[in-house]
C-alpha cells in the first residue's frame, strides 16, 4: 500500500491491515479485508457505511469478542500490542481502558437480573477479569465495597440523565423503554472510567427524538470526560454532527478517510459521493435516491475494487486489481484507481455532481466501461 496510516501524531489506537475471516460450511467469508485506522487521544472518529459493511465486526474484532473468527493484523493500543496480550491481560483492559456501547440497547442487557445488579457488578468487577470466586463472594456479601459500587452506579445513572435512578436500579430491563436501556448501557460503559469508548450506533434503534437526545448526551460526556471515541454509524448525518474525522467503509474495507468537514465539502470516492448524494435534503424538495445495488457478499467478493459492480466510473482496471490507498494531503486518502492514474491517461475524476447525475439516470452521466459483465 502506498499510504501509511499516520493521520494522527499520537494515536491511542492504531489498527493496521486487519482481516477477519469467518469459516462456514460454504467456505471462508472474508468479511474484513485489510482495514487500517487510528484514533488519536481525545479525538472523535466515525466509521460510516451501509448496513452489513462490517462495522460491528471491526469493533468486535478489536475487543476480542469474536471467538470463532480468524483475525489477523496489527492492533496497538497506547503502545501495547493487543494481539500479544493474554486473555487475562486483555480482560483487565476491557471496560477500564477501552469500553463499548453495543448496537441494540434492548438486547444488550441481561433480562433476568436487575439493572442494579448488573451495574454494581460492572462497577466492582468490570475490567477486573482476574477476580476469583471467593473475592467476589466476599465483596458481594460482606459489603466489602458493594455499597460504594452501588452508589457509583446510581451516580452514573444520574449523569446520563436517567430519571429516578434508584427505581431503575430495582427494575428489570423489560420494564424500561429503549431510550432508558440505552442510557443504562452508556452508564455501564462509562462506570470504570475508560479512556476510549467504542460506540456501535448508539440510539439508531430508537425513534428520532430519543436518538437526538442520546447523541447530545454522548457529546456532552465526551467533552466532560475527555474521551476518545470511535463511533460506528450508518448515518452520515450522525458522523457529521459528532466526529472530527471519518472513515468510510465499504464491503469490509476502508475506502476513504478525511476530516469530517472535508469529506462533506469534497467527497472523493464514488461510494462516499453516492452516500452523500443520497442524504435526503429537507430543503431541496426532491427526494434523493439511494445507491443502486447492495453490499457485496463476503463468500465470493468482487475482484479488485469491491465497489465496482455498483460504481458508475468503473472500468477494466477496477476489476483486475485492488486499488491502492492514495494519499490526498496529510489527513485524506482514498482507495480508488482513478486517483492513481498516470497523468497522461486522464480518466474523469469523480465529483459529487457527476455521481448524482449517474444516480438520477442523467443522459450524460458517467457510465461503467467493462468489456463484459461476467466476473471471472
Amino acid at each position: 500500500m502506498s499510504w501509511e496510516e499516520s493521520v494522527v501524531d499520537d494515536p491511542l489506537l492504531t489498527i493496521k491491515d486487519l482481516t477477519v475471516d469467518f469459516e462456514s460450511f460454504d467456505g471462508i467469508h472474508k468479511v474484513i479485508d485489510g482495514v487500517s485506522l487510528s484514533v488519536g487521544r481525545g479525538e472523535v472518529v466515525a466509521i460510516a457505511g451501509e448496513t452489513g459493511c462490517g462495522k460491528s465486526v471491526t469493533m468486535k474484532a478489536i475487543l476480542r469478542l469474536l471467538a470463532t473468527a480468524d483475525i489477523n493484523g496489527e492492533m496497538i493500543y497506547d503502545g501495547q500490542d493487543l494481539q500479544a496480550m493474554s486473555d487475562r491481560e486483555f480482560s483487565m483492559l476491557k471496560g477500564r481502558e477501552m469500553s463499548m456501547i453495543f448496537q441494540d440497547p434492548m438486547s444488550s442487557l441481561n433480562p433476568v437480573f436487575t439493572i442494579g445488579e448488573q451495574l454494581t457488578d460492572t462497577a466492582q468487577f468490570g475490567g477486573r477479569g482476574t477476580t476469583g470466586v471467593l473475592e467476589y463472594l466476599k465483596r458481594k456479601y460482606t459489603g466489602n465495597g458493594r455499597e460504594e459500587a452501588r452508589q457509583r452506579a446510581i451516580d452514573m445513572l444520574r449523569e446520563v440523565q436517567m430519571p429516578d435512578p434508584e427505581d431503575v436500579m430495582e427494575s428489570y430491563p423489560t420494564q424500561l423503554s429503549g431510550g432508558m436501556c440505552q442510557r443504562v448501557l452508556i452508564a455501564q460503559a462509562l462506570l470504570n472510567e475508560p479512556t476510549m469508548l467504542i460506540a456501535d450506533e448508539p440510539g439508531t434503534a430508537l425513534d428520532v427524538t430519543i436518538h437526538d437526545q442520546i447523541l447530545t448526551l454522548l457529546k456532552r460526556l465526551i467533552e466532560e470526560r475527555d474521551l476518545s471515541l470511535l463511533m460506528i454509524t450508518h448515518n452520515l448525518g450522525v458522523a457529521r454532527e459528532i466526529s472530527d474525522r471519518v472513515y468510510i467503509m465499504y464491503g469490509g474495507r476502508i475506502v476513504e478517510t478525511a476530516p469530517t468537514e472535508d469529506i462533506f465539502a469534497e467527497p472523493k470516492h464514488p461510494y462516499t459521493q453516492g452516500l452523500i448524494a443520497s442524504i435526503p435534503r429537507l430543503t431541496g424538495g426532491e427526494m434523493a435516491k439511494g445507491i443502486d445495488g447492495s453490499v457485496p457478499e463476503y463468500l465470493n467478493p468482487p475482484n479488485g475494487c469491491r465497489y465496482h459492480p455498483r460504481c458508475p466510473y468503473a472500468y477494466e482496471r477496477c476489476r483486475s486489481e485492488r486499488p491502492p490507498m492514495v494519499e490526498q494531503g496529510a489527513t485524506t486518502a482514498v482507495e480508488c484507481v482513478l486517483y492513481d492514474q498516470p497523468s497522461d491517461t486522464a480518466r474523469e475524476i469523480p465529483t459529487i455532481e457527476r455521481t448524482r447525475q449517474a444516480m438520477d439516470g442523467h443522459p450524460e452521466a458517467p457510465q461503467p466501461t467493462m468489456e463484459s459483465e461476467t466476473d471471472d
Partner: protein
C-alpha cells in the same frame, strides 16, 4: 406486581387444580367394575353380610351423598378405610409414602446435579471429547427404559460383581438397630447413630435411584447444554464480556441463570414421569413404597385406597409444579410480569 401477589395467584391455581382432580378421581373410582364390598369379603360371605358391609362403608348411598362424604373426608384427611388392609387409608399411605419420597428425592437430586453439571461441562467444551461422550450417554439413558436399566444394574452390580444389594431399603443385620422415626431410611439410620447403617441405606438406594434418574439426567444434560450455548450467543453475554467481567462470572452467573428457565420447566415435567416410573422401579427393587400398595389396591378393587394413592400422586404433582412456578418467577422476572399480564 409484588412477588407475594404472584405467589397468591399461583396458589389459587393450585386450589382449582386440586378441586378438579378430586372430582375426576371420585368419578373414576365409582365406575370401577365389580361390587367392592363383595370383593372385599370374598365369595363365601352372605348377601346380608355384603349389604351390611356396604352400608358400613357408605357405598349403598346415592352417588351425590357419597361425593359429599368423600369431600368431607378429603378435607378432614379421612380417606376412609382400606377394604383390603382394614386400616385407615391415610395411615397406610403415611406408612408407604416416605420410601417413595426418599427414592424420588434422591433420583431428582442425581438428575439435577449430574444433568446440569454434565450439561454445563458439555457446553463449555462444545464439540470436544467431553461433549461427544455426554451426547452418547444422553442417547443411551434416554432410549433405555428405567426398569430395564434397573434389572441390568441388579445383574451387573448385584449378581456378577456382588458389590451392591439389589432389593429392599436396608440389610437385615441393621433392621433391629434402626427404629422408624421419620420413615426416611437415610434419616432414621442417622438418628439411630449408626454410620454403618446409614452407609448401608445409601448402598440400597443408589441403584434404584440411578435407574430412576437416568432418563432425566440425559434430558436435563442436553437441555442444559443447548440452552447454555444459546444464551452464550446473546448480545447481553457479549456485552458482559465486553465490559471485562471475569469469565466465570459471565458463565456461572449471567449465562446459567438464563439457561435455568427451560431447565426448570423440563424438571417440573420430568417429575410426573418420575412418579410413573417409580412404580416400576419399586417393583423391580422390591422397594416398599407406594407402588406396592397402589398396585394391590387396584387389583383388589379397593377404591378408597386407589383414591388415596391417586390423590397423593396428584397432590405431589400439583405441589411440584407450584414450586417450579415459584422458582421460575424468581429466576425470570419476565415470567412473573407476563403471567400477571403486566407487559
Amino acid at each position: 406486581m409484588q412477588y407475594w401477589q404472584y405467589i397468591v395467584r399461583r396458589l389459587l391455581g393450585v386450589l382449582v387444580s386440586l378441586v378438579g382432580l378430586s372430582i375426576i378421581i371420585f368419578a373414576v373410582s365409582r365406575i370401577l367394575p365389580g361390587n367392592p364390598a363383595r370383593m372385599a369379603l370374598g365369595p363365601l360371605a352372605t348377601d346380608e353380610q355384603v349389604e351390611a358391609f356396604a352400608a358400613d362403608m357408605g357405598i349403598d348411598q346415592p352417588v351425590w351423598m357419597q361425593y359429599i362424604q368423600y369431600m368431607q373426608g378429603l378435607l378432614t384427611g379421612d380417606l376412609g378405610m382400606s377394604l383390603e388392609t382394614r386400616n385407615q387409608v391415610l395411615d397406610d399411605i403415611i406408612r408407604h409414602l416416605p420410601a417413595t419420597i426418599e427414592l424420588i428425592t434422591v433420583a431428582i437430586s442425581f438428575t439435577i446435579v449430574l444433568g446440569i453439571g454434565l450439561g454445563i461441562l458439555a457446553a463449555q467444551h462444545k464439540d470436544g471429547h467431553i461433549d461427544n461422550a455426554t451426547r452418547m450417554l444422553a442417547f443411551a439413558t434416554v432410549s433405555i427404559p428405567g426398569f430395564f436399566l434397573g434389572i441390568l444394574f441388579q445383574l451387573i452390580f448385584g449378581w456378577f460383581l456382588g458389590i451392591m444389594p439389589i432389593t429392599g431399603r436396608i440389610s437385615r443385620e441393621f433392621r433391629d438397630e434402626v427404629t422408624r422415626e421419620t420413615g426416611f431410611m437415610l434419616i432414621d439410620t442417622l438418628l439411630s447413630g449408626s454410620l454403618a447403617a446409614h452407609f448401608d441405606a445409601w448402598m440400597h438406594i443408589l441403584l434404584p435411584a440411578l435407574a430412576l434418574s437416568a432418563a432425566g439426567i440425559g434430558q436435563i444434560m442436553r437441555i442444559t447444554r443447548s440452552t447454555m450455548i444459546d444464551v452464550q450467543r446473546k448480545d447481553y453475554i457479549e456485552a458482559e464480556r465486553g465490559f471485562g467481567l471475569p469469565n466465570w462470572l459471565v458463565v456461572y452467573k449471567y449465562t446459567l441463570k438464563n439457561a435455568f428457565v427451560p431447565v426448570l420447566t423440563i424438571l417440573g415435567l420430568l417429575y410426573a414421569s418420575l412418579l410413573g416410573n417409580a412404580f416400576l422401579i419399586e417393583l423391580v427393587f422390591n422397594w416398599p413404597g407406594l407402588a406396592e400398595y397402589g398396585v394391590n389396591a387396584v387389583l383388589s378393587n379397593d377404591f378408597n385406597a386407589v383414591v388415596g394413592v391417586v390423590m397423593t400422586i396428584g397432590i405431589a404433582f400439583v405441589t411440584v409444579n407450584f414450586v417450579v412456578d415459584l422458582l421460575l418467577g424468581r429466576v425470570d422476572p419476565r415470567i412473573q410480569l407476563e403471567r400477571s399480564g403486566l407487559t
